[in-house]
Symmetry: C2
Subunit: 333 residues, 2 copies
DNA sequence: TTGCCTAATGTAAGCGCTTGCAACACATTT
DNA sequence: AAATGTGTTGCAAGCGCTTACATTAGGCAA
C-alpha cells in the first residue's frame, strides 16, 4: 500500500500563484512582508496543492535546522520526564522540534547519539547524563550548537549548565538528620551517577559534625522498587539496625517502606526513610515520603530560555544556572 | 561564547584524502565498496578534520531522512513510556533518529505536529493518540511516510495499526466481574480517550448477562492519583455502595486504594478495585492491584518491525497487528 | 595481442529551499 | 521635474550531499 511520491514543491506553488519561488518562501517564513493580495494568492495555491514545506531543504539552505536534541538515560520511569516534557513543549512553542535520544544506563550510547545529533546539525543539544567521552566533548565544543548540561552543575561545563548542586543536597540531608537526632544513617546509592555526589555531601557534613563515616550500600542504576525491597532485607538484619536510610530515589524509598510495613516496623520511629525526587507517589502513598524536591520542569524551561537568549544574539552572562532544591519533611523521616 | 562556524565538508575531506567527494560519500554510506587502501586514506582524513557528515544535505539529496516522528499525548507519567522507549531504542539500532512530539491532552497539538513531522520528511510517523483531524489524515495519506497508529485497532487505519481491542478488554473485565460474583460495578473512565471503548465493552458484556447498566463517573484525562481519591469519596457515599470500581488507569486505582485504606475499608471484601496498565506500582504496592497488562514495549517493537519490512520493500500483509492483553488477578479484586 | 569483464573511482547534475542583491512601482520631498 | 525613500517582488547562486552514468585500470580468456 505504498503511496506515490507527492512532489509538491515550492516551484509548483509558485507557478500556480504566478509568483516567484522567493515569494512563496517568504510567505512561509515571514508572511508579513508580502502584500495582502499576493499573500492571498499564495495561500490559495498552497491550499489547492496541499503543499508541505520541505524543512530539510530549508535547513540546508538557511543553515538552521530548528531541531534540538535531548539526550536522556531513559524515559520509562525517569526522574527526568518532567524536564523532557517541559522542554519539548516550550520548544514546540518556539517552532523547534525535539529529537529524543536514549543514552541508556551508564550512558553507553551517549557518544554515538551526540554524533548523530550533530549530524542533523541541531541548533542545540541538551544533556542530562554525564558526558565523559573526550571525542564527544571535543565535537560539541567545536560545533555551532548550543550545549546545555542539565541536572548538575559541573565545574567546567561544555557550554552552559542548568541544575543544582548534588553535593549540597547531601549536606542538607545531613543537616536534617542531625537536627532530628538520627544516629545511625545508612546510605543507599546508585553507582556511577550523581547520587555519588550527594553521598559525598552527606558524608562530608556528617563527619564534620564529629560523627563516624556512615555505612552504605551501592546499586547499579537505575534504582527501582525491587532494589528498595532487597535493601530493606539487608538493612533489617544489621545490628545495630540503622535508624535512617537515605535513598537515592523515591522508588528505592517506596520499596523499602512497603517491606517495612509488611515486616511491621514503625516508620519513622523504628526506621526512617528519605527519598529523592519528590515523584508523585512520594506525597500520595502512605506513609508519605520525606524527600528532596527538584523542579524538573523548571530545569527544562530554563534550558529553553538559554536557547532563546542565544538565538536573540544575547550574551549568556553565567555558565551556571542553579535552580536549587528543597527538602520536604513528611511522614517517613 | 559562540563558536566559529566549523565548515568541514565532504569536499574538505575529499581534498585531504586526494579522492573525489563521491568516494568519501561512499565511505560514509557503504564502506565495503571502497578498496581498503582508499578507505584508509579517507578514514584518516576524516579523523584529522573532525568531519561530521551533514545528514541534512544527505537527506535532501537522497530523499530519505532516517527520521521517525513519534507523537504521544505526554511523557511525564505516561502509560506509553514503555512503547516510546522500546521504539526509540529499536530505531536507533537501525540508524533512525526519533523526534518526539507531545500532542497534549485531547491531542490538541496533533495536527500541527503532524505537519511539522511531514515537513521534516520523516520516513515514518507513529501515533498513539487518536487522529480525527481530516486535513491531517489527508496529509498523512498523501505522504510517502509509513503511518503507524498504536495502542488501538481502528477499523480503518490510515496505514497500519498496532495495538489491541479496548472493547475486548472491557468484555474481559465484565467476564471477570461476573465470574467473581461482583454485583454493583462502578465505572471510572477518562473522557475522550480509548477508556470509553473499554467502558462500552464492559457495559455490553455486562448487560448481555442480564444485568442493569452500571453507574459511571467520567474524568478529564489524564487520570491521576488525586482523581482516584476524589472518586473514592464519591463512591463511598453512594448507597448502595458499589462493590467493584473499574478504573481506567492504575493511578486512579492506586488513589482509590490509598483512600480506602485510610477509611478502614477492607479490600477486596468491602470494596474491590481493578486498574489498567499494570504499571510498576500495581504489583509493588500493598495491596497489589488487579489490572490489565499491556505489553507496551512489544507495541513499540512491532511498530518498528513494520518499518523494517517496508524499507525492505516487503508488502505488509495485514493492516492490523494485535498484541493482545492479559488480565492479572491480584489482591485488589 | 585484442577484446571483454569486473571492480574502483570520478564527473556532474541535481535535491528544494533561502537570501543578498537588483529591479521596479509608487509616494513623498525638494 | 528630479531626487529620494519605501514597499514588493524577482533573479540566481548557492547550501552539502547522493547517485546515475562515465571512465579507468587491471585480470583473464581467446
Amino acid at each position: 500500500m505504498r503511496k506515490a511520491r507527492a512532489p509538491v514543491t515550492l516551484q509548483d506553488v509558485a507557478d500556480r500563484a504566478q509568483v516567484s519561488t522567493a515569494t512563496v518562501s517568504r510567505f512561509v517564513n515571514q508572511p508579513n512582508v508580502l502584500a495582502e493580495a499576493t499573500a492571498e494568492r499564495v495561500r490559495r495555491a498552497i491550499e489547492a496543492t496541499g503543499y508541505v514545506p520541505n524543512r530539510i531543504a530549508g535547513s540546508l539552505a538557511s543553515n538552521r535546522s530548528h531541531l534540538v536534541a535531548a539526550l536522556v538515560p531513559d524515559v520509562a520511569q525517569s526522574i527526568f520526564n518532567a524536564t523532557i516534557e517541559a522542554m519539548i513543549s516550550e520548544l514546540a512553542n518556539d517552532g523547534y522540534l525535539t529529537m529524543l535520544g536514549l543514552t541508556g544506563i551508564d550512558n553507553v550510547r551517549m557518544a554515538e547519539l551526540v554524533e548523530a545529533a550533530l549530524g542533523q546539525r541541531v541548533d542545540a543539544i541538551i544533556l542530562t547524563g554525564i558526558l565523559t567521552d573526550r571525542r564527544s566533548r571535543k565535537l560539541l565544543r567545536n560545533s555551532n550548537a548550543t550545549v546545555i548540561e542539565t541536572w548538575g552543575l559541573p565545574a567546567d561545563p561544555i557550554d552552559v549548565a542548568v541544575g543544582f548542586s548534588h553535593f549540597d543536597v547531601g549536606v542538607e540531608i545531613a543537616r536534617f538528620a542531625l537536627d532530628r537526632g538520627y544516629d545511625r544513617p545508612h546510605l543507599l546509592s546508585a553507582r556511577g551517577t550523581r547520587a555519588q555526589e550527594r553521598r559525598d555531601g552527606f558524608v562530608d557534613a556528617w563527619c564534620a559534625a564529629g560523627r563516624d563515616v556512615p555505612d552504605e550500600t551501592f546499586f547499579d542504576a537505575p534504582t527501582r522498587f525491587g532494589q528498595g525491597r532487597a535493601a530493606f532485607r539487608k538493612v533489617a538484619k544489621m545490628s545495630p539496625r540503622p535508624d535512617l536510610v537515605i535513598c537515592s530515589s523515591d522508588w528505592l524509598a517506596q520499596g523499602l517502606l512497603v517491606e517495612a510495613a509488611s515486616a511491621g516496623l514503625k516508620v519513622p520511629d523504628e526506621l526512617a526513610v528519605i527519598g529523592f525526587g519528590n515523584l508523585a507517589m512520594a506525597s500520595e502513598m502512605r506513609p508519605t515520603i520525606t524527600t528532596i524536591e527538584i523542579d524538573g520542569g523548571r530545569i527544562g524551561r530554563e534550558a529553553v530560555e538559554v536557547l532563546r537568549r542565544r538565538s536573540r544574539g544575547e550574551e549568556i552572562q553565567s555558565r551556571h544556572i542553579d535552580v536549587g532544591f528543597r527538602l520536604i519533611a513528611r511522614d517517613s523521616a
